[in-house]
């Protein structure tokens, strides 16, 4: 059975450096994949690469197959038909991501008119229904973005993304700009919609708590490569890759530190993409590094739960 989305050996280059260095994973319909990693690991670039919206100075190679068709090889005109219709994206700062001089109803309806060929009245009516669906029943479709709160705007963005019933929705750090309560509400909304419509959801975030609640599978990215990927429960329990282990240790969740005790961190910094080590990218910071780690980047090994490490942590 072909997966809905299959990414293989995706690389994104910029003047000599590989910002994304051979990322591969798959996504099934109705599945939620959490993508975690520090800033600079390439999470957002991954999203842009899938949408074909990379800045012109970057080039992508590899394969991105949606329903079997390779998106990277598509001409721009064909890619425009895919964007918004089959694969959609929700961005990080909703206040900046919406056109300030256009009513929100119009902005939701725009995709429908473009891809589904709906007339203005029909599209507006559908947009109204969609706005209700995302919890904005009390807001007029003629309102402008500056009249709404951050949480409301993010709901509008979700409505915009869902307008044409996409098969895949990518959410890029979409809750970072929101407070905790709103965050929880929005995530719940997204998860609910995804399950109802059997839509695949890719949740890009640095928030492990979020992922643990919502994602079926989790992928950990480090320095442009996949460090670990597998069912959320297994990844969270086993934490095979030393980086994953470090991420969890660095996250404060329920543990109380004694006064004066140093909080755990991962020593060192994410390597500059132009100056990555020859072997495993995490080697300089890893507590378990051995000689063979610096020889070549380790490949992803495993079945359902895969890890790119020559000396992963033992399963507890």
């Amino acid at each position: 059975m072909t997966k809905l989305l299959e990414v293989a050996d995706l690389r994104v280059h910029a003047r000599g450096a590989a910002l994304l260095d051979g990322v591969g994973f798959s996504l099934e319909a109705g599945e939620t994949l959490g993508v975690v990693g520090e800033s600079g690991c390439g999470k957002s670039l991954l999203a842009l690469a899938l949408m074909g919206l990379l800045p012109t100075s970057l080039t992508a190679s590899g394969s991105v197959r949606l329903d079997g068709a390779d998106l990277l090889g598509l001409a721009e005109r064909d890619m425009c038909r895919v964007r918004g219709a089959r694969i959609a994206m929700v961005f990080q700062e909703p206040r900046l991501a919406l056109n300030p001089v256009q009513a929100i109803g119009r902005q939701v309806a725009e995709g429908m008119r473009l891809h589904l060929g709906l007339g203005r009245a029909t599209a507006d009516a559908r947009a109204r229904t969609l706005l209700d669906r995302v919890g904005l029943a009390a807001v007029s479709a003629d309102a402008y973005p500056h009249m709404l709160s951050g949480g409301q705007l993010q709901r509008v963005m979700i409505a915009v993304a869902l307008a044409c019933d996409p098969a895949v929705l990518i959410a890029d750090e979409f809750s970072t700009a929101l407070d905790m309560t709103t965050q929880a509400q929005i995530v719940a909304l997204l998860a609910e919609v995804a399950h109802a419509t059997h839509m695949a959801l890719m949740l890009i975030t640095h928030d492990l708590g979020l992922v643990s609640h919502v994602a079926d599978r989790t992928m950990v990215l480090y320095a442009g490569r996949v460090a670990e990927i597998g069912p959320t429960r297994t990844v969270f329990a086993a934490r095979l890759h030393p980086y994953t282990q470090g991420l969890f240790a660095a996250t404060l969740h329920g543990t109380r530190a004694a006064p004066g005790q140093m909080l755990p961190t991962i020593p060192g910094q994410v390597p500059n993409p132009f100056a990555r080590p020859a072997g495993c990218a995490f080697a300089p910071r890893c507590g378990r590094v051995r000689a063979d780690c610096e020889a070549a980047p380790p490949a992803l090994e495993g079945d359902l739960h895969r890890v790119a490490c020559l000396h992963p942590l033992p399963v507890a």
Partner: protein, 278 residues
């Protein structure tokens, strides 16, 4: 993401500064030279050789009175430059302190702001024509006129730029540390806005040259017999069919002068603007 964004900006050199400087030099050199030497005395009549085409003796030919066109243009350009520089210098000397004063909160500050708004509503040529009408045509009158309608623009620019700097935290820190208002303005605000003001002054010079030419064209500038680019254009306009060069040349010199200042101003702005890649 931030890394990718940084990498996608392309770094290009800014040749506009160089181009501007070169264009200006093209006009500046002959006009400055004219202070000590011109091919012919610009006022020298030579009726026998009137309306002559360009030749070895007269590189641009002669006008209806036999005067050497090149010499007239050189001195005319010099006059335009003198008027322009003097006028803008005056406008800056008055406008910048007034603009700084307008950032205050008292009645004088408000009065300055209101006066500036009113001043900006006056069409520049109107103001200039009025001043010249009162003071009479002549270099002083023209300089005053052009300075006058440039003052509101400098006041407004200084005020808005200074206001935005004043709202920054380091100003509050300086005030808390005990710095008086005037000192804060001089030491902290002025250096920060100097760049923008220099750019504005350069661009204003372009407009001043244009205005001087316009006023001269209308007969409100430097009176005859002093050579003037604008008045030359007006004088020779009737001869346009016989000898187009008489009309093309003065206008081209004005255009070159204005273009040079505009390019220089743009180049300076690109240099000072932290956003690169535009």
């Amino acid at each position: 993401m931030s890394g990718a964004v940084l990498l996608s900006r392309s770094f290009r050199p800014h040749p506009s500064l160089l181009a501007g400087a070169m264009l200006l030099a093209l006009v500046l050199a002959p006009s400055l030279l004219s202070a000590v030497w011109t091919p012919w005395p610009p006022l020298r009549l030579d009726i026998i050789h009137r309306l002559a085409p360009p030749s070895a003796a007269h590189w641009l030919g002669t006008d209806p009175f036999g005067r050497d066109l090149l010499s007239i243009l050189m001195v005319g350009a010099r006059n335009s430059l003198i008027v322009g520089v003097a006028a803008i210098a005056l406008a800056v000397i008055i406008g910048i302190p007034a603009g700084l004063a307008a950032t205050g909160r008292g009645i004088p500050a408000m009065a300055v702001s209101r006066a500036t708004d009113l001043g900006l509503a006056f069409p520049p040529l109107l103001t200039a024509a009025m001043v010249v009408a009162v003071y009479g045509a002549g270099m002083t009158g023209t300089i005053l006129a052009i300075a006058l309608f440039n003052v509101p623009a400098f006041v407004r620019l200084t005020r808005t730029q200074a206001a935005s700097v004043l709202s920054r935290d380091f100003i509050a820190a300086a005030r808390v540390a005990g710095r008086g208002r005037a000192a804060v303005l001089a030491v902290h605000v002025l250096p920060n806005i100097a760049g923008t003001l220099v750019v504005q002054a350069t661009l204003a010079l372009a407009l001043a040259a244009l205005s001087e030419a316009g006023l001269s064209y209308l007969g409100l500038g430097v009176p005859p017999p002093a050579p003037s680019l604008g008045r030359a254009l007006a004088d020779y306009q009737t001869r346009i069919f016989d000898d187009p060069l008489l009309v093309v040349a003065p206008g081209a010199v004005i255009a070159l002068l204005v273009l040079g200042f505009n390019q220089l101003g743009d180049g300076l702005r690109d240099l000072l603007d932290p956003r690169i890649g535009r």
